[in-house]
Amino acid sequence: MVLYDSTALAGNSSGSSSSSSSKPPPPPLQPQQQQEIDGLLAGAGYKVRSSELRKVAQRLERLETAMVNSPADFSQLASDTIHYNPSDLASWVDSLLSEFAQPPTCPSEFVMDPVTNQTVVNDAWTTTEPNMPQVHQNISYEQQSLNNQLTVVTAMEEDSGIRLVHMLMTCAECIQRGDFPLATSFLEDMQGLLTRVNTVCGIGKVAGHFIDALGRRIFQGIGGGSINGGSAYENEILYHHFYEACPYLKFAHFTANQAILEAFDGHDCVHVVDFNLMHGLQWPALIQALALRPGGPPLLRLTGIGPPSPDGRDSLREIGLRLAELARSVNVRFAFRGVAASRLEDVKPWMLEVNPKESVAVNSIMQLHRLLGSEPNRNSPVETVLSWIRSLNPKIMTVVEQEANHNQPGFLDRFTEALHYYSTMFDSLEACTVQPDKALAEIYIQREITNVVSCEGSARVERHEPLARWRTRLSGAGFRPLHLGSNAYKQASMLLTLFSAEGYSVEENDGCLTLGWHSRPLIAASAWQALSDAPAEFPAPDTHRPS
């Protein structure tokens, strides 16, 4: 332990080699200079000037990195101890650094803009190879912590995450401009960066999916990455797991059921048309609620629309049989009809066999957006479908749609919106602990991402539009909104409380309910009724079933 007094210091400095000291040799220390020495470090045996503390800290970091990265040099250095005077820390570190192959000078600053929390990347950075030591050095310049490796690593990850987002946007912008070679180089950079980010959760996971989707767009062209590549059976399985893993579909089903139940109050002959039957998970709850309603259950008919099954299994019929068995157990008179159609616009109203005496409910869970084209025109599929829905004169039409604007013509805007939306959705999925539901739910969402990002034209079916636009569209097509009511809200809140995650929120939006994660709405449920201005309730003669 070196005592803090001039004689000891003088003695040390005279014993040191010529390479260490930065002062003129031999240095009789002036009294003023003694006062600059940092007291705490001096107590530990090191003399470092207070003004140099920051520099010494940085250099120690660099030295540590350099040692870690080239252990061969280090072991050679370890045997040469007499050259260095460790108590004069500044010069000791400098001389050690000069021994290493890595140049201690790092490229220019890696500045964090505190306002936008985005990294401003200098040209010097982009031209050098992004190898490990320099990244460490750059981060440590900002960190100023001597022994806090964990903070360094976390900061590096956060930084990389932010860089990933930045690069994703830039790549998307290149694609919009048509500059595919530059976009390809960005893609490669991003894939490299992805290896350094935690892809198990957080921004890394979502970014990975978006990078894949961009890759598809660049290399396979638009229309190559269509989600219709998966079979209907696969889609059903993924949908089921998405149902289990997070509350969005449950919220949709329960809210729609509540609205339908209230609309059917007092009616004895009811007919529900489901635009996408899947496994029919929505309907057991409705059947049970109808069974228990005061006044007894009505005669319930369910018409389920779904894609045709290719391998001979009649999946619609199987689901219908299951639902019928359930209805029989609870004593509800039930009839099921399946309509197999690969696209919703292929369905004609006569296929549904609506009896004029019964009350009709139309239920569309995330189906209407598939009918949209990119430019609104008179006879787009959605207009056709909405008009024949109107001709059925339904008592209620329940519409649940994703609350996002993924149908913008500009690619970059769409990409940005999708990035925000799906990041939020993946965040909410983190709370789910049930496997394999979580993993398969992610694949389900990933297919949506791929479709939004890498497809165009008729291949892009995930054309989500926000609630405000649906309101305009449906009002223009002759529907008036029905308020969902407090029962639906209470039920939705209760349902959410059952999910262990704290971040979900139900909001009421002018009669519609939205479910979101941390006040970002992700899915919106609304109910509509056809305006009965037309005198006839029967459909026009030419839409009748051809005899």
Binding site: H240, E244, P284, A285, Q288, R322, L323, L326, Q491, S500
Partner: protein, 165 residues
């Protein structure tokens, strides 16, 4: 209050076996009076009922009876739902409803809600129970997962905390 009833019965039972069997006092053995026993067991909470089921064979049979669980499910519901019985029995019985739906729902909601909400809780539990029954109907061929007799199906997994057994 009910538990002291328990102890009272047990004590009297023990008294019989320990000593004084020479005394010809009128004995009261609860197992001879099944209707009283049922009345008592009806008022127990879930945990006590499960404990009671391991006392003896008679108690076990009674505790497994669905009507006791019916009481447990709807005890706090105001107003008590009518005509639910046939539906619940068709969907799997009250014990299953309680263990699978009502108990976790009530536990999760119980901190914020009071008895006045119990009606909505019951309705929600019934709906979830129905979805559960429907998935059990699908059996193992729908998603490749075996659905056991007493284990909840996948749709109720979100209600189960991994710690609880």
């Amino acid at each position: 209050m009910v538990q002291s009833h328990h102890r009272g019965c047990h004590r009297q039972g023990n008294h019989e076996t320990v000593g004084e069997s020479k005394e010809k006092r009128p004995k009261f053995f609860i197992n001879d009076h099944v209707d009283i026993l049922i009345e008592i067991l009806k008022r127990l909470d879930c945990r006590s009922l499960c404990v009671a089921a391991s006392v003896c064979r008679l108690w076990c049979t009674i505790a497994r009876n669905d009507s006791l669980w019916e009481n447990l499910c709807f005890r706090h519901a105001s107003p008590p739902p009518t005509s639910v019985r046939s539906v619940v029995l068709a969907l799997g019985g009250y014990k299953r409803l309680y263990m699978g739906c009502v108990r976790p729902v009530r536990r999760r909601l119980g901190r914020a809600r009071r008895a006045s909400w119990a009606g909505d809780e019951v309705q929600l539990s019934l709906s979830l129970f129905c979805v559960d029954y429907y998935e059990r109907l699908g059996g193992s061929n729908s998603n490749g997962r075996l659905v056991g007799e007493s284990s909840p199906s996948s749709s109720l997994m979100f209600l189960c905390k991994p710690v609880n057994v």
